[in-house]
């Protein structure tokens, strides 16, 4: 196996183009928020600044990982899942003290799921968490013998795995997709495409909402989200997906449809995690560890966009090729 693929990789100038684009946008965003904060110190930009900072970290890890060795990418994405899972389990009000040992099984599911993604075992990859863990965790809970609130744990633990591990692991599986004729970039192009569209979609929705937001879309869940932000964001993301289709094997129409679906899924992921956090925030805030929400906020939309994007791409182009 090649350890250093730098040479072969640089030749694919589409990827270079997008890497330049990513860092260009990051530099632009950093400068913009810095300047904005400097001119109008009263504007509350901490959320945006925090986002840009974590994107810098993500972009650097991502680019070095794809440039040096794909194995690092699998490990990095698996680690992202692991930390998100740990965060969700730590702040969850629905994990009982009796579930402590069961959580061990939940954590163990992370390396298994990513190993399956790495090996490209498509059907095992698909059923491991949705079927196997959904059967195994209740069984382990029953063996512990504490029945009070056990049905709550039976549904909460597997669903947290779905959110933090199953969804995100599709990003890793993209890298294991076989080469198809007429499309040289392979999984890396697809991975860049979906991550980039998802992150930019968050920004577009935020910006449109800030500029034109009037009508609240889900006031009890996310008071800052508006119809204007939602529609404007989806429109811009779809357009951007259209112009970035050189990263994918998609035709023009397919690129539009896929980007539209990814943008919608991003919104769904965002509000689902928001709702969970709101639920936790409302109940007994005293017990919740403060200073949380870093990782979950970063992966919320990805948890939904990755599987949606993966399965559209897979069914369009990889079904008969693997």
């Amino acid at each position: 196996m090649e350890i250093l693929r730098l040479g072969a990789f640089i030749e694919q100038d589409e990827i270079l183009k997008i890497i330049a684009l990513i860092f260009g946008i990051l530099i632009f965003a950093t400068a913009l928020f810095w300047g904005w904060g400097f001119l109008r110190p009263e504007a509350n930009l901490s959320e945006l600044k925090m986002r840009t900072r974590s994107w810098w970290v993500m972009a650097i890890i991502f680019v070095t990982a794809t440039l040096v060795n794909p194995l690092i990418s699998y490990a990095a994405i698996a680690f992202l899942s692991f930390v998100a899972l740990r965060e969700l389990l730590s702040i969850s009000k629905n994990v009982r003290p009796a579930d402590r040992r069961i959580l061990f099984w939940c954590y163990l599911a992370v390396p298994v799921q990513y190993y399956l993604a790495y090996k490209g075992h498509y059907s095992l990859f698909l059923i491991f968490i949705p079927i196997f863990m959904h059967l195994w965790l209740p069984f382990m809970l029953v063996i512990r013998g504490v029945t009070e609130d056990v049905s709550r744990s039976m549904s909460v633990l597997p669903s947290q795995l779905m959110l933090t591990v199953f969804g995100i692991s599709h990003l890793a599986y993209l890298l294991s997709l076989p080469d198809i004729p007429g499309f040289s970039l392979g999984g890396r192009g697809l991975l860049l495409f979906v991550v980039f569209i998802t992150q930019m979609n968050d920004v577009f929705q935020f910006t449109w909402g800030k500029l034109f937001g009037r009508h609240k879309i889900l006031p009890t869940v996310s008071p800052n989200k508006t119809w204007e932000g939602f529609i404007g964001g989806i429109f811009t993301s779809t357009l951007m997906g259209y112009y970035l289709r050189f990263l994918t094997p998609f035709t023009e129409t397919e690129a539009l449809v896929v980007s539209f679906c990814v943008a919608c899924a991003g919104f769904i992921g965002d509000v689902v995690i928001s709702a969970i956090k709101r639920d936790i925030g409302k109940k007994d805030t005293g017990d919740v560890i403060p200073g949380h929400g870093g990782f979950l906020d970063r992966i919320d939309s990805l948890a939904m966009t990755s599987p949606v994007f993966f399965h559209i791409a897979y069914n369009l182009y990889y079904l008969n090729n693997s």
């Binding site: 389990l89 730590s90 702040i91 040992r101 959580l103 061990f104 954590y107 560890i289 403060p290 949380h292």
Partner: protein
């Protein structure tokens, strides 16, 4: 040899495992960076507390830090005593001072002796692991030691959620996000033992955010 093991184990290996895998978040750890001699005082819920605090020490300080541990618990067998003294660099003391006719070393004198040799100490003034979120009444030892050595500051630490990783009586480690919050070093000149104990309690509780 022991020094080398402590160097390799705590600042390099254990600190990173704690942070990346187990979910320990150190807050305001910079107060330790100077490496000056101090007594770290913290609430106590888990065996991991000691490990997490020792791993928080800056590299040059690591082998010159002694966690103070209960001799009756960790010194039960010769093997247990040697392991704790080697891998945790522990100072094993009795949990009470000798009364008349008893002939074990005075714990206060032991701690002062370690301080005079230049060691920093990690001390859990509750004396034992308690329930999460509930501070027990502090023992007087910390006051008696600081009264004798007013030139050494104490650094208050509040450990939040460590008991979830490894609660009392459990043997399976499970990762959970938790916080180790350091406060500013506090000097206690011209204070008597009771005042110092009250001050320590007040500083730790202030970090818990539940006053």
């Amino acid at each position: 040899m022991k020094k080398l093991v402590l160097y390799l184990l705590y600042p390099l290996l254990i600190r990173n495992v704690l942070r990346l895998i187990l979910g320990v978040h150190y807050n305001n750890r910079e107060v330790l960076q100077s490496g000056t001699q101090c007594i770290i005082v913290a609430n106590h819920n888990s065996h991991l507390d000691t490990v997490a605090l020792l791993a928080a020490m800056p590299l040059p300080r690591t082998p010159r830090t002694k966690p103070v541990a209960a001799g009756d618990y960790f010194g039960k067998t010769g093997l247990k005593r040697r392991l704790t003294e080697f891998f945790v660099n522990a100072l094993l003391i009795a949990r009470s001072r000798p009364k008349e006719g008893e002939s074990f070393p005075d714990p206060i004198a032991q701690m002062i002796e370690a301080l005079d040799q230049g060691y920093s100490l990690i001390l859990f003034p509750e004396g034992t692991r308690g329930e999460a979120g509930k501070m027990q009444k502090l023992k007087k030892g910390i006051g008696l030691v600081l009264q004798e050595r007013p030139g050494i500051p104490f650094v208050p630490v509040y450990l939040q959620g460590m008991g979830r990783l490894l609660p009392k009586g459990e043997s399976v480690l499970v990762p959970f996000d938790n916080f180790v919050r350091f406060g500013q070093p506090v000097y206690c000149p011209n204070m008597n033992a009771d005042e110092i104990v009250a001050r320590v309690e007040q500083e730790i509780l202030a970090l818990s955010g539940e006053q």
